[in-house]
């Protein structure tokens, strides 16, 4: 099997973000970056399939400036066979522009499976995987939380709001990975050493003109502090009254 995984370098979300001087980017000073969690689960899914199917190969692809090589090396240290950087000055916000650049590279690779994380927390769009599938005319199942592949066919589970879907599909296919599919392995010391010698190809890409423009970024308004109505059972009537008259939720 030939398997591709598309990964993104994203900042750690457990911080207070600051807006950059240009007003349309996040200030990256002091931010820690790593592979997107959903993408790490996609890498894990690809590695498990490769190890079950002799003669398989996993390629990791990331679009962006040279700093994404760090993210590619992380995937290589987990066990991915080779990496491709689609070199661009920056990662655009427009998912279609990213999808077009990735699709151009992926169509030449004749992959049996193309994995994506279901979304990345920074742009919070979750559109690139299904867009690529459409541009390549390939079957696609998004946000999978279980996966079985056998005899050129696949079966997956998707989590919906309050329900689940069981989906069948033929290969080749595009899959986007949700939480719960697996636990991503940590790179071993041996893996980290081996990753340094694995092939990492750098290919410059021209991104198409975006049809959407970021006008500004801002921090959300601070939430008002909570109010303590009282303590113990005696406060309940007052709380119920406020929920009815002020919050209007009952």
């Amino acid at each position: 099997m030939k398997i591709a995984v598309c990964v993104k370098r994203v900042p750690d979300m457990d911080v207070r973000f600051r807006i950059g001087a240009d007003n349309v980017s996040v200030d990256e000073t002091g931010l820690k970056f790593d592979i997107n969690d959903f993408d790490a689960w996609a890498v894990e899914a690809a590695l498990q399939l490769r190890d079950k199917n002799a003669g398989s190969e996993v390629t990791v692809i990331s679009l962006g400036p040279d700093v994404v090589q760090e993210t590619i090396r992380k995937a290589l240290s987990m066990g991915v066979d080779r990496g491709i950087q689609l070199k661009a000055d920056k990662v655009p916000f427009d998912g279609l522009a990213i999808a077009k650049a990735l699709a151009e590279e992926l169509k030449a690779g004749s992959y049996d499976l193309i994995f994506f994380g279901k979304m990345s927390p920074d742009s919070s769009s979750g559109v690139v995987g299904p867009m690529v599938s459409e541009l390549l005319g390939m079957p696609c199942v998004t946000a999978i939380s279980s996966l079985e592949i056998a005899d050129g066919k696949g079966k997956a589970k998707r989590e919906l709001e309050g329900a689940q879907e069981i989906v069948e599909f033929p290969l080749p296919a595009v899959l986007t990975v949700d939480e719960g599919l697996n636990t991503a392995r940590l790179p071993s010391l041996k893996g980290i050493m081996a990753a340094k010698k694995k092939p990492l190809e750098v290919k410059p890409v021209q991104l198409p003109q975006p049809q959407i423009t970021l006008r500004k970024l801002e921090l959300p308004a601070e939430r008002k502090a909570g109010r303590v109505v009282g303590e113990g059972a005696s406060a309940v009537p007052e709380l119920v009254k406020l929920l009815q008259t002020e919050a209007k939720v009952l």
């Binding site: 973000f17 769009s125 559109v127 459409e134 329900a163 049809q211 423009t213 500004k216 921090l219």
Partner: protein
């Protein structure tokens, strides 16, 4: 005329609240353009009976696509049907929902039309030639204001940010067919398990109490 398209999400033969929210959001845009809302309802036989309800939420035209093979979501048939209609109707904008189904469907439709998309839309405005929307980034810690200049503009509303508003319209009904045979698609949802240990349906919840 710059009409606005809305995709009305259904599950199990019922219209979901997020589907009505998409109609209301489309109505807001159409009122600014002085145009019509055309809402597409896609599902199993009987879904057409919901047409009057959708008109009540501001759709001028309700396009009903009923097919016995649409008891479960069919991503390829839904993509083809929505994309064909958006193209032939020359819509200025198309509104979807950022639900599990909408996250799957809307980007495919956008890619098929060669259009960009903004998901999780919090609010929308019209400024000159652009539709200007707000979208949360970095797990809601940053809010982006984004201008969409391409046509059609493809938007997916975040659930629960627009209350479905009644806006009586005649809701002229048009019956249509899936653009491709749902039995011929490569990807097939063979089962939808309701409430079987899946996540709670917060998108349909008017109030969420967390501790």
């Amino acid at each position: 005329m710059a009409n606005v398209f809305a995709f009305v999400e259904t599950r199990g033969g019922d219209v979901r609240k997020v589907g009505l929210e998409a109609v209301t959001a489309a109505r807001q845009l159409a009122d600014k353009f002085g145009s019509e809302v055309h809402a597409l309802v896609f599902g199993p036989p009987g879904i057409g009976a919901k047409a009057a309800q959708i008109g009540k939420y501001g759709a001028d035209v309700v396009i009903i696509v009923e097919n016995a093979s649409l008891a479960n979501y069919n991503p390829e048939a839904a993509t083809a049907t929505a994309a064909d209609r958006i193209k032939s109707g020359r819509y200025r904008a198309a509104v979807f929902s950022t639900s599990a189904q909408g996250r799957d469907l809307a980007p495919r439709v956008a890619a098929r039309l060669g259009a960009s998309i903004v998901t999780d839309v919090l609010s929308l405005e019209v400024e000159g030639n652009a539709i200007v929307v707000r979208h949360p980034m970095n797990i809601g810690k940053v809010i982006a204001t984004i201008a969409i200049t391409g046509t059609p503009a493809i938007l997916a509303m975040r659930p629960n940010v627009i209350a479905p508003a009644q806006n009586l319209k005649a809701g002229r009904v048009e019956n249509s067919q899936p653009a491709i045979d749902p039995n011929s698609t490569r990807v097939r949802v063979i089962e939808t398990k309701q409430g079987s240990g899946g996540k709670l349906d917060l998108a349909e919840a008017p109030v969420v109490v967390a501790g």
